[in-house]
């Protein structure tokens, strides 16, 4: 299933004497095809993350629509949109995003637990093995390193086998070995049929991507 | 084997010691009669102090014992002992006639409160240990 953005833009208001309106993302048409890994690069503040959050259904665009297949994300109410994100969109946010009160295994199971869906240990454990932290299943997030936490976030995003995977700087602050391991994982997901978006400013990522786009001052262009 | 000292360990020791020291000082029973003789509440206070001393020793031994099962057993032993302490003033040994007298207004309720808290702390300790298995 394809994720499309039709004429989306995002405007922020800020208190400045020169101009109090500023566009984080200018009107953009963008499609994320299934089975492909799309990379967006650009300097920080260029609007990459804003675009990703709009695609994820977390941030309503000022104009335009975001479509998952035929469904307009922002035409749904909050509960429906949340459920849709839970089931079909895997998001790997920036930074460390594990819940501190849950163990590693519980964190990975979170998307299922949240909607009361039964989940055995089998699938989450295989995901933890795939990201290489199966031994830490009963550890709490405060015992994990930055790289391990990032891998945990990836395993969590993959639990529901989402059709769309949105990764925001998944390799920042990771060493070379971890960076490549994470990128390989995202590549695998694309090969298995998911529409994958990778937002990064790391050079190494390009070799894993099917397509690289460049974002500057809220404008998206082919590099 | 456990080395950690948790809240219930400290609570049991502090409460037992408070009962022992309290019944000898702050909430001691009535003083001697004008003719110098003691009333029965004095002996009730002494008996309670004896049981409180036993409770304090049990709580101290608990802290020294590293074995979780021994600690569990000692917690269980403290419950009937604390119950005994609560029953001594008024039930097992008679107190004075007037409710306004020290032994009935101060000692008996204070002993009861300490005993209830010791039983509660020991109960919580046992429950927590059983949960951990």
């Amino acid at each position: 299933m394809e994720l499309r953005a039709e004429g989306v833009s995002r405007r922020y208001f800020r208190q400045s004497k020169l101009s109090n309106v500023f566009f984080a993302v200018k009107e953009t048409n963008f499609a994320l095809p299934a089975g492909k890994l799309t990379e967006i690069t650009g300097r920080s503040g260029s609007g990459k993350s804003t675009l990703l959050h709009m695609l994820a259904g977390l941030l309503a665009p000022t104009t335009g629509r975001v479509l998952l297949g035929d469904t307009d994300l922002y035409a749904l109410d909050d509960a429906e949109r949340s459920k849709l994100r839970n089931e079909h969109i895997g998001v790997i946010p920036q930074g460390q995003t594990a819940l501190r009160s849950l163990t590693v295994l519980e964190n990975v199971k979170l998307p299922c637990l949240m909607y009361g869906d039964e989940v055995s240990d089998e699938i989450p454990m295989s995901l933890l093995e795939r990201v290489g932290i199966a031994a830490l299943r009963d550890a709490y997030p405060n015992e994990l390193s930055g790289g391990e936490l990032r891998r945990l976030a990836i395993a969590r995003a993959l639990l529901r086998r989402p059709r769309v995977l949105l990764a925001d700087e998944p390799t920042s602050n990771l060493d070379d070995e971890n960076t490549h391991a994470v990128l390989r994982l995202l590549r695998q997901c694309a090969d298995e049929g998911a529409a994958v978006l990778l937002v990064t400013h790391e050079r190494e990522a390009a070799e894993y991507a099917d397509r690289v786009l460049y974002m500057s001052d809220g404008v998206l262009s082919a590099e | 084997m456990e080395k950690k000292i948790n809240v219930t360990d400290i609570a049991l020791l502090v409460l037992s010691a408070a009962l022992l020291i309290g019944v000898l000082t702050v909430f001691a029973p009535c003083g001697p009669k004008e003719d110098g003789g003691w009333m029965t509440c004095h002996w009730a206070g002494n008996a309670t102090a004896g049981v409180a001393a036993v409770l304090t020793v049990l709580a101290l031994v608990r802290l020294l014992m590293r074995d979780a099962k021994i600690r569990l057993g000692l917690s269980a032993a403290m419950i009937p002992a604390a119950l005994l302490a609560a029953l001594i003033p008024g039930r097992i040994i008679r107190l004075c006639m007037m409710p306004s007298m020290r032994c009935r207004a101060v000692m008996s309720p204070a002993v009861a409160v300490c005993a209830v808290l010791i039983i509660a702390a020991a109960g919580v300790d046992i429950l927590m240990r059983r949960k951990k298995g």
């Binding site: 993350s49 949109r81 501190r100 637990l113 949240m114 | 006639m97 009935r104 204070a110």
Partner: protein, 400 residues
């Protein structure tokens, strides 16, 4: 719902210090309102029962009564006292206009009550005319109080052989009265001839309570005023026309207690309000501080697919657990103070103090806990709105 509950419990367990602090703060709410209202209700209850037990409109005592204790201190605090006058005064008083029923009473302090060094108040009444003590006795004892029989107040410990010794004479305890929360609970009751016998024995043992003829001694006269007569007028009439006695209206004895009760209730009320304001303010600040710390956690839940409703439920569950556990702990702590230490409260306030019955207490407990949980969870609601409506995108960017 199960998820929200599980996660709440885990969140609370992972932060034991924070949870304990919030629980203790919430406990103050139910502790103060349950404890405070229980004490105030016990005082009101005590006043009511004192009023009921007094039973008379006017109480007449000899002028010199104040030197050996007053009617107030005997009836209210149970401090033993005695004062006597000759029976002839009773005759003079009972014939005054407006006096419908007059009944003499006789107060004697025991020298020693066998077990303890304190003296016990012994109150004698005349079974023929008495209208204030006998109705009360009938509530717990059907038989007549014969010579040598004793009725004891609810606070007196009855010995195993049901005998009490006063001035070397042994008497049978035939019944125990219901609790009144006043000094009457620590008194012993007997009919006139029994108590005069005690007075005679005491005189033989060298105690000199009364210089006159013990067989003609009385301590006070309880008066019921007839319909159509003003109580104040009758009291004034006695004070003017019968010398060496003092007639006091029962109403004025009650009203001085009611005044004390109002003062104590007001102090308790102010304390409860201050504790509530402080505790709720601190709770609110704490929840705001915690919510700042938790914005990230909630953004993560949003990312994974939690709806706003779920987040609200999660916060509500947490705050209900905190305030619920706190309310129960607070109420339990209040119960551990108010119930066992009732005697101490009564002794230090010098006011009649009678705990409400189990039904009222249970209702009070339920109401206090419910109110505390409601107030506690409302304080968290203010910060919850902000937490739930936060812009997830912005929060996740902040640490980039």
């Amino acid at each position: 719902m199960k998820f929200e509950k599980d996660l709440s419990v885990k969140n609370l367990k992972r932060k034991p210090a924070r949870t304990a602090a919030l629980v203790i703060l919430s406990a103050f709410l139910s502790f103060s309102i349950f404890g405070g209202s229980l004490v105030v209700m016990s005082l009101q209850n005590g006043l009511k029962s004192y009023e009921a037990r007094l039973g008379a409109d006017i109480i007449v005592v000899p002028n010199q009564a104040r030197s050996h204790g007053t009617v107030d201190s005997i009836l209210l605090q149970g401090i033993p006292g005695y004062f006597y006058m000759d029976e002839s005064y009773f005759e003079k008083i009972s014939v005054r206009e407006g006096v419908e029923i007059a009944s003499p009473q006789f107060f004697l302090a025991s020298a020693s009550a066998g077990c303890c060094s304190v003296a016990v108040q012994i109150i004698g009444f005349d079974p023929e005319t008495d209208f204030s003590i006998q109705p009360w006795i009938r509530e717990s004892y059907g038989g007549a109080v014969g010579d040598g029989d004793l009725i004891v107040g609810s606070s007196i410990e009855i010995p195993a052989n049901r005998k009490l010794v006063f001035y070397n004479n042994s008497y049978n305890v035939v019944a125990q009265l219901d609790e009144t929360g006043t000094g009457l609970d620590t008194a012993v009751y007997a009919n006139m001839s029994t108590i005069r016998e005690m007075l005679e024995s005491s005189t033989k043992q060298g105690f000199r309570y009364y210089d006159g003829d013990p067989a003609r001694a009385i301590s006070s006269v309880m008066i019921k005023v007839g319909d159509g007569y003003g109580i104040e007028d009758v009291a004034n009439d006695i004070n003017v026309h019968v010398r060496k006695v003092e007639a006091t209206q029962a109403k004025s004895m009650i009203s001085s207690i009611a005044g004390g009760l109002t003062n104590v209730s007001r102090v308790i009320g102010v304390l409860v309000v201050v504790i509530w304001i402080l505790a709720l303010a601190i709770l609110m600040v704490a929840f705001v501080m915690i919510s700042n710390e938790r914005t990230k956690e909630f953004a993560v839940l949003r990312v994974v697919g939690a709806s706003e409703k779920m987040l609200k439920r999660l916060l509500r569950t947490e705050s209900i657990i905190i305030s619920g556990v706190g309310a129960l702990c607070g109420a339990a702590a209040a119960a551990l103070v108010v119930f066992p230490f009732g005697g101490l409260v009564k002794r230090s306030l010098d006011l009649p103090y009678l705990l409400p019955d189990a039904g009222v207490t249970a209702a009070l407990l339920f109401g206090s806990v419910a109110l505390s949980v409601l107030a506690g969870s409302l304080t968290s609601a203010a910060s919850a709105r902000r937490l739930v409506k936060n812009d997830t995108g912005l929060i996740l960017r902040e640490d980039a």
